[in-house]
């Protein structure tokens, strides 16, 4: 025996003797019988659709056999099943062409989130206390059916469906269910919705849709606050186009001019960044138009239907001479004239508007003004200009109403809403406290939620019927922008459900069948996938008869590919815009006296959490914001001059107060914001949204004024003024910061 062996043997005999019977306790867990026979170690990529923002990118999900810890029939154990491991962009999908943003990648964490609702729940404690007990699906559906069956005759109008903006058959099912209930209230709510763009584009161009900017072919972009590389509209598609504009055409680089008062990620990429006072964007766009008209840089007789909606256009926009606008806005008239010349002579050029400029009280006018400028530049419907994704053949208008209107009805009419179905909308977080949304929803006698997580709104629910995660569910989508061609996406489930959940459309169809009568007639499908297949059969008949030998083959091909897109289809013929009276430029209204509340308060969509609906994902929490590099927190941006005047230093805790509330956040002192503005990312400051987001940071939406944009009834979220007060030392965790920098309070230890 060698020395080494002897040592081994002696040591081990001692050690093992002492520890006999010590096994791996993992082996004691029950193993459930697998439902699918997969070959271990072999990955398959399944097409899916990203649902984390409204862009509708196509994805591929890598699925492999794995062992999931699950509960089946009340028992905890291990199940071998196909599990989603990674998400990438679908190279065949026309919107994102194989690319994907970090938010899309994090869909995995929605699926595997430890705080997902795993079974149907019924409220036990006081409303909002978050006390629920688990019930079975049969009990849950029985209870909901009995509540809904009470809504007959006059009581029918007490039904309301409140959802995030939905598309495709998911929207059809909710819409038909609402109509079948003889109710009219289906409210789609999102803080950053595209209603203003839709309405303005309908008025100017006849398209009730957000625009698709053909950035890859353009030579000159004038963007008014639109963060098209960050979160606005279809950011992945736009980033691809922008990359092509900059690098895809040798010798031709393209220029980006950004007008905004707080520099976004897009602004940080701009060749020329011009500070524009909040609410002046439309006026500046018309000053550019004035300069083009005055210098006759564009043919005077060029058709411009969009211009008809601008008061004073026919007279050559006398109120918008660059000198006049320069005096009002603090810009230089020479700059405005130069940009007008550059845009007119570097065709194709395109103007964009989005985010804060469309969220002032005059946001609608601003959008119309930019539309008119686009028309003047001759960019509408041309390569390198403004295009519109062709609408699907079966598109129809659905009954929708604004949340503000619903709140008013609940406040004024007794029993205006008696049963509310809630799906993926969180207005208590994403509406200001002053809007009265919380009190209004609390007055509704019965609320059922389909959400996968408890949040500020769904905690009020009496009944929770948890939805599948997007990876476990059938999905279909009709992205309204981001592509020149018609895109209809479809995806079968990428994996089987981990928990005892059911897909929302399936539950709605099931309930409709049980209720019978008109609701059942309005929804002829038994399951959601049957409904999607029906829409694809219709699509085959209408548009795609030459793409497959029959509807079944077309349906199968679409599932394999992740959807169907009409590659050869060009932009559809322009519909005739409506004729209506010119819109007057009314000065934007701001809440708060400028003397008492000296700063414009500009919330902005977070790169990480979008509108706050993604704050529950730890990958998003730990990712540094691309501009500020702040992680796991929130901040308030202010100009160094502002900070100096108020005696505030980097990371100092600042109190931000409006007429409607106050909050505290650490200061981020940066020259990338105008001295009369302060800005805060939306997304943090949840009171009740999983272990990762609850009580982290502050929610800027909570202190906003309940001002709305008249034309759409949506919140004017950039129309509040605030005052600042230094409170003390704060904490700002930034990427690459030393401990001392990140935590100044530790400096003297």
């Amino acid at each position: 025996m060698e020395r080494r062996d002897f040592l081994k043997l002696s040591a081990v005999s001692g050690a093992t003797a002492a520890l006999e019977g010590c096994g791996n306790p993992d082996h004691h867990l029950i193993r459930f019988i697998p439902e699918e026979d997969l070959i271990p170690g072999i990955a398959t990529w399944k097409p899916s659709i990203c649902t984390l923002c409204p862009a509708g990118c196509g994805t591929l999900v890598r699925v492999m056999q794995g062992e999931a810890e699950v509960v089946r029939k009340g028992q905890f154990g291990i199940l071998k099943m196909g599990l989603a491991k990674k998400i990438e962009g679908n190279p065949a999908h026309p919107i994102n062409q194989g690319k994907l943003c970090p938010r899309g990648q994090a869909t995995l964490q929605v699926t595997y989130h430890p705080d997902r609702i795993k079974t149907p729940l019924k409220r036990t404690g006081a409303r909002g206390a978050g006390q629920f007990h688990e019930i079975s699906w049969d009990e849950a559906i029985k209870e909901l059916v009995s509540k809904l069956s009470e809504l007959t005759g006059e009581k029918a109008s007490g039904f309301a469906f409140l959802t995030s903006p939905l598309r495709g058959q998911r929207a059809n099912i909710v819409s038909n269910f609402t109509l079948g209930m003889h109710a009219t209230r289906w409210t789609q709510f999102a803080l950053f919705d595209d209603q203003i763009s839709r309405f303005a584009n309908f008025e100017s161009f006849g398209h009730l849709a957000p625009m698709t900017a053909d950035l890859g072919q353009t030579n000159y972009i004038i963007s008014f606050g639109a963060d098209f590389l960050g979160t606005w509209n279809s950011p992945v598609a736009q980033a691809i186009g922008y990359g092509h504009m900059r690098n895809g055409r040798p010798g031709q680089r393209g220029k980006l001019v950004q007008f905004e008062s707080r520099v976004s990620q897009t602004g940080a990429n701009a060749d020329e960044l011009i500070s524009c006072p909040p609410g002046m964007e439309g006026t500046v766009a018309l000053a550019i138009a004035h300069a083009i008209l005055a210098e006759k840089l564009r043919p005077a007789n060029a058709p411009n239907a969009a211009a008809a909606h601008i008061d004073g256009w026919a007279a050559g926009l006398p109120n918008y001479a660059p000198e006049k606008v320069a005096a009002q806005s603090g810009m230089s008239a020479a700059t405005i004239t130069r940009i007008a010349r550059e845009a007119a002579t570097n065709q194709p050029a395109v103007a964009l508007i989005g985010d804060a400029p469309t969220s002032h009280t005059n946001g609608y006018f601003n959008a119309l003004a930019v539309n008119a400028l686009n028309s003047l530049l001759g960019s509408v419907g041309k390569p390198g200009g403004v295009l519109f994704t062709p609408p699907p053949p079966s598109a129809k208008n659905m009954p929708t109403g604004s949340l503000a209107a619903m709140i008013r009805q609940i406040q004024t009419i007794p029993d205006a809403v008696t049963v509310l179905l809630l799906y993926n909308a969180n207005p208590i977080f994403a509406m200001p406290a002053s809007s009265g949304v919380k009190e209004a929803l609390e007055r509704i006698p019965f609320i059922a939620s389909f959400g996968s997580f408890i949040d500020e709104t769904s905690v009020l629910a009496d009944l929770i019927l948890p939805d599948h995660s997007p990876l476990e569910s059938w999905l279909d989508d009709l992205p309204p922008s981001g592509s020149k061609e018609l895109v209809t996406s479809v995806a079968p489930p990428a994996m089987k459900p981990l928990h005892d959940t059911r897909s929302m459309p399936d539950v709605v169809l099931d309930i409709a069948q049980q209720l019978g009568g008109d609701v059942a007639k309005a929804l002829p499908w038994k399951t959601y996938d049957e409904a999607i297949q029906a829409s694809f059969t219709q699509l085959y008949k209408d548009k795609a008869a030459k793409n497959a030998k029959d509807a079944d083959e077309f349906w199968k091909k679409a599932q394999d590919q992740g959807g169907w897109w009409a590659a050869e289809e060009s932009n559809s013929a322009s519909p005739t815009p409506t004729k209506s009276a010119p819109v007057k430029n009314v000065a934007p209204q701001f809440d708060g006296d400028p003397k008492q509340f000296p700063f414009h308060f500009l919330p902005f969509p977070s790169q990480l959490f979008y509108d706050g609906s993604l704050a529950h994902l730890p990958w998003m929490q730990e990712m540094p914001d691309p501009l500020s590099t702040v992680m796991w927190g929130t901040w308030v941006e202010m100009n160094p001059q502002t900070a100096k005047d108020l005696g505030i230093e980097q990371a100092d805790l600042v109190e931000i107060a409006s007429q409607h509330g106050k909050l505290q956040a650490p200061a981020l002192v940066t020259p990338t914001i105008a001295p009369d503005c302060v800005a805060m990312p939306v997304g943090q400051g949840h009171e009740n949204y999983t272990r990762y987001a609850t009580n982290r940071g502050a929610n800027p939406v909570s202190i906003l004024a309940p001002l709305t944009i008249e034309e759409t009834g949506t919140l004017a979220w950039a129309a509040t003024r605030v005052k600042l007060t230094a409170v003390g030392r704060g904490k700002l965790v930034m990427f690459g910061a030393s401990l001392e920098e990140a935590s100044p309070e530790l400096k003297h230890r």
Binding site: R3, C22, D26, H27, F32, I33
Partner: protein, 207 residues
């Protein structure tokens, strides 16, 4: 004459010393983990961490000395009988020629035949009981590498190269439940790789 005795003494002291250190470390480790499971009701199975590769000192010691417990299978499955009846390895272990691991069939797969065949035998009754309870059979792992070895083994290229199953798994026609008949040391792998002129680069297997 004197020197060997001294050496033995020195070895003996070293052995006693190491044993004492190990036993103390193990007792301390277990005491600490017991304490933490008392304080935290959340402490789930196998959540202790000694190093990133080992859950406890015990696991580390066992791995260092290459000690592996003999797996005790829940059912006395017999490879011998199945193979004698003309079945092939790949009838059950599907996918061995396609990917890194072969499939271990689920209880449902076994029951496709045993619904009818030999259903009165005690082991088959156990099998049926698992199926009736909705449980899969908790087979214990026989072969495999320690995670800290960073070995990535892939069955498919070995099958393609015509390596017989028995080269690595022994003659299954003589075994009932699978036993570790062949010691999968690095030397064993390298020998064969050299004979077949396969790559012996470190990163071929360790990555």
């Amino acid at each position: 004459m004197f020197r060997p005795v001294l050496r033995v003494n020195r070895y003996f002291r070293a052995v006693i010393g190491i044993c004492l250190i190990l036993v103390t470390a193990i007792i301390l480790d277990r005491a600490l983990s017991a304490q933490s499971s008392e304080t935290s009701s959340q402490a789930s199975v196998g959540s202790g961490i000694f190093t990133t590769a080992h859950t406890s000192v015990y696991a580390a010691v066992r791995e260092f000395f290459g000690i592996r417990s003999t797996p005790v299978q829940p059912i006395a499955y017999t490879h011998k009988v199945h193979l004698a009846n003309g079945m092939q390895c790949t009838d059950c272990h599907v996918g061995v020629d396609q990917g890194p691991d072969a499939r271990i069939p689920s209880v449902n797969f076994c029951m496709t035949c045993h619904q009818v065949i030999a259903k009165d035998k005690p082991e088959i009754k156990k099998l049926a009981a698992y199926r009736d309870r909705g449980e899969d059979i908790p087979w214990q792992r026989v072969y495999g590498f320690e995670p800290s070895a960073h070995v990535k083994f892939n069955h498919a290229p070995h099958i393609r190269a015509g390596v017989d199953c028995k080269v690595c798994h022994g003659d299954m026609t003589t075994q009932t439940v699978a036993e570790r008949k062949v010691d999968h040391t690095m030397g064993f792998c390298i020998n064969c790789h050299k004979q077949k002129a396969a790559s012996i680069d470190c990163v071929t297997c360790h990555y």
